[in-house]
């Protein structure tokens, strides 16, 4: 018993006091900034492995980006990735960052459905479904609940049954073989419900886009409440995206 208390004491404080403003260690790649420098845009478009870059004006779609940073290394005067992890949005178009545009990516409060804030603002239970995910987004979603990030402090947690959940978090490019199980889980969540696409694979298929083994048409007609980019999503991107969606003022 005393040993256990000693071990506990040795860990010190591990939780991040403010997950909305904390700095991430190292050279994390979050929101990119694209300058107005004149460069060969076609070369950058051709370089991008996932078709995330478009020319005229040069833009990066974070919903397609693999965050490999090859474009930044090829053309540092044009593209740089900042450590800004606030990159979730509820409008798919808001994930496209254009040249000269240095504004933060935000969840548009006018586009959040009224019932989302009213019903889930103080307690949100989510069911995660992996549909071809490689396990990294899944591990990062698990990490949101660990002692460092502790998403539970906001009344947000992951639950085992869709019947107990207020919404689905989908990861992976949506394999054909998981398309129906995903829909079953989605349909089992009582209305009103939310849908969050977590990770580049879920948002666009990522590097797997166009594979005949996927079935992304299951998303047709479903209302997506939040897009969380990342390869994989960073726990702070997820937590802040959900807090913004719930319009939590007190955090």
């Amino acid at each position: 018993m005393l040993d256990s208390l000693k071990i506990l004491f040795h860990q010190g404080k591990q939780y991040i006091p403010d997950v909305t403003t904390t700095d991430v260690p190292g050279i994390f790649r979050g929101r990119p900034v694209i300058s107005d420098a004149q460069v060969d845009e076609t070369a950058l478009v051709d370089l991008c492995p996932t078709g995330a870059i478009s020319a005229n004006p040069l833009s990066i779609d974070l919903g397609r980006c693999a965050f490999c940073a090859e474009c930044m290394f090829a053309c540092p005067q044009k593209i740089s990735f900042t450590k800004d992890y606030h990159i979730s949005a509820n409008d798919r178009g808001a994930l496209v960052v254009r040249a000269g545009d240095n504004r933060p990516i935000v969840v548009d409060p006018d586009k959040v459905r009224a019932e989302v804030k009213r019903l889930f603002g103080r307690s949100l239970k989510l069911r995660e479904v992996s549909a071809g995910g490689d396990g990294s987004c899944e591990m990062e979603l698990n990490a949101t609940g660990n002692v460092n990030f502790d998403i539970g402090r906001f009344g947000i947690s992951f639950v085992a049954s869709p019947r107990h959940a207020d919404g689905i978090v989908l990861t992976g490019p949506i394999s054909e073989n998981m398309a129906d199980p995903f829909l079953d889980a989605y349909n089992a969540v009582p209305d009103p419900k939310i849908l969050i696409l977590a990770g580049t694979d879920a948002i666009s298929g990522g590097i797997f886009d166009g594979s005949p083994a996927l079935n992304r048409s299951v998303l047709d007609g479903l209302n997506v409440d939040l897009y969380v980019p990342g390869n994989p999503v960073h726990p702070l991107t997820f937590i802040n995206g959900v807090l913004d969606m719930l319009q939590r003022k007190n955090r």
Partner: protein, 495 residues
């Protein structure tokens, strides 16, 4: 013919046998316990099919390569009947190309790939059943209770006791092998390789890079060699620590769960400091890297490891000394050495069952020859052994990185990988020991110098059957802890 790990050779040098001779050779080669099948697949060849088998000869660091020409209409004698470890490979060939294997005891779908000849859907899987009032069946998945990948488990239970478990996979199939051929840019392929399995990014990206560089006859760059070895050991530390946390979760040992969980954080954050990704995505590229291991990073790693190690040891000592933990993990989920050999277990699970299968030691590559690594082997084959192998391997990997950093030399810069040109008509077998076990990447080039075959065997392909064997006779409530002790990959299997 005998080949070496990571050395490209002319595909035409592989002797093409008749199937009966091929069958006889494979059965004979797989007899000793130090031999095991790394990869066995079929590739289209001149309007027909060519079978390729690659068998590890652990005692002398060779790989035996064999081939045979067959037609899709053939019925072949199943090697599985003699050597059960071959069951997955014959199922794979049957599923995609329709070849019948006579005498195969379990010729069922493997991963329901989009290009399967067999038809049917993932819902039509023919589960084994026992008609008896004594037994009941329990189905779990594809979606599991936690935040993990999907797979379906079908138990046949006698009361609380598991009599039989059948594991149905394929839900995660993304068409990976097909994409590896259709996407032509090296960068796209490197990103595909690091997305095979998110917990094995470094190992898969390294196996791909080594295969690609061998096909292009690139001279090994000492800096890249050093950095990749270090990253592989770091990945092992991070994942093993996280797995110890998860094992504690599954036996409701809250302290171990929280402490190992928080100890994993600085280890994966170290990758973020190194390359901007906690899972080391974008770190490993063929022929170059954008992220060198600088002196500042070496200092940072020393500090991180010095802070990590005493806390890690303290927690593990407590865990492995606590009767309430030991009573749950000792003699739970046992795989005997004999079973491990028969089903061809590899890596961490094999080492826990008394088999020293670790290609870092048996087929060394990168800087492993200089590390003189002794595999951590336990003999009890239970959850305890699999947890204990992790604990000791974390300490071993910390020592390995310390020794690597002590030998650190000046960074040798490389140009971008564009200079790499694949040579035509070559084959390479690239083996890398991930934290879970051996990854086998086999790549072949066409006469035009394009990649014509790219086959990946994740250690999970061998080891899922190990889990099915381990749970027999155990209470169904111990399934989660057995499953976590193997921690196998779904997407790495389904591809």
């Amino acid at each position: 013919m005998q080949i070496k790990n990571g050395e490209a050779f002319d595909t035409s040098d592989i002797e093409v046998l008749s199937y009966p001779d091929f069958y006889g050779r494979v059965v004979e080669l797989l007899a000793p316990e130090t031999h095991h099948c790394l990869s066995y697949f079929a590739a289209p060849h001149a309007g027909s099919l060519r079978l390729y088998a690659f068998i590890a000869i652990d005692e002398n660091a060779f790989i035996e390569a064999l081939a045979a020409d067959v037609a899709t209409s053939d019925t072949l004698q199943a090697i599985t009947a003699e050597r059960p470890e071959m069951h997955v490979f014959e199922r794979d060939i049957h599923e995609v190309f329709g070849i019948e294997f006579a005498g195969h005891p379990w010729l069922k779908p493997l991963r329901f790939p989009h290009n399967r000849l067999a038809g049917g859907s993932v819902y039509d899987y023919p589960f084994f059943n026992i008609e008896s009032e004594e037994f009941h069946r329990v189905g779990v998945g594809p979606i599991h209770a936690g935040i993990i990948e999907p797979g379906h488990f079908r138990f046949i239970c006698e009361g609380e006791k598991i009599h039989h478990l059948e594991i149905q996979l394929g839900w995660q199939h993304r068409g990976w092998e097909n994409l590896m051929l259709s996407k032509k840019k090296m960068l796209q392929r490197a990103i595909l390789a690091e997305n095979i399995a998110g917990d094995t990014t470094v190992a898969n990206a390294t196996a791909f890079a080594l295969a690609y560089e061998a096909l292009a006859a690139a001279d090994p760059n000492p800096t890249l060699t050093f950095e990749r070895t270090l990253a592989l050991e770091q990945e092992r530390i991070a994942v093993h620590t996280g797995d110890l946390s998860a094992i504690c979760t599954d036996i409701a040992y809250q302290l171990g769960n929280a402490v190992f969980g928080r100890l994993r954080t600085p280890m994966i954050n170290f990758f973020q400091k190194w390359c901007g990704s906690r899972f080391a995505k974008s770190l490993i590229r063929p022929g170059y890297t954008n992220f060198h291991f600088t002196d500042a990073l070496a200092d940072d790693w020393q500090k991180t490891a010095d802070a990590f190690e005493p806390h890690f040891r303290e927690m593990a000592d407590k865990m492995f000394d606590l009767p309430s933990v030991l009573s749950r993990i000792e003699r739970t989920g046992v795989v005997s050495t004999e079973t491990a050999v028969r089903i061809g277990l590899v890596g961490m699970a094999a080492k826990a069952s008394g088999l020293a299968r670790d290609v870092r030691a048996t087929h060394p590559y990168l800087d492993y020859a200089s590390l003189d690594l002794k595999p951590v082997v336990k003999n009890s084959g239970d959850v305890y052994a699999r947890a204990r192998v992790r604990y000791e391997e974390v300490l071993q990997s910390l020592a390995n990185i310390r020794s690597l950093i002590a030998q650190k030399h000046e960074i040798t810069e490389t140009p971008k990988g564009d200079y790499l040109k694949l040579r035509p008509g070559k084959t390479v077998v690239s083996l890398v020991e991930g934290w879970r076990g051996v990854l086998c990447h086999v790549a072949q080039t066409s006469q035009e110098g394009q990649i014509s075959t790219y086959k990946v065997v994740d250690p999970s392909v061998h080891n899922w059957m190990g889990l099915a064997m381990a749970v027999r006779g155990n209470g169904i409530s111990d399934f989660p802890i057995c499953n976590k002790s193997f921690d196998l990959s779904y997407c790495g299997h389904d591809l």
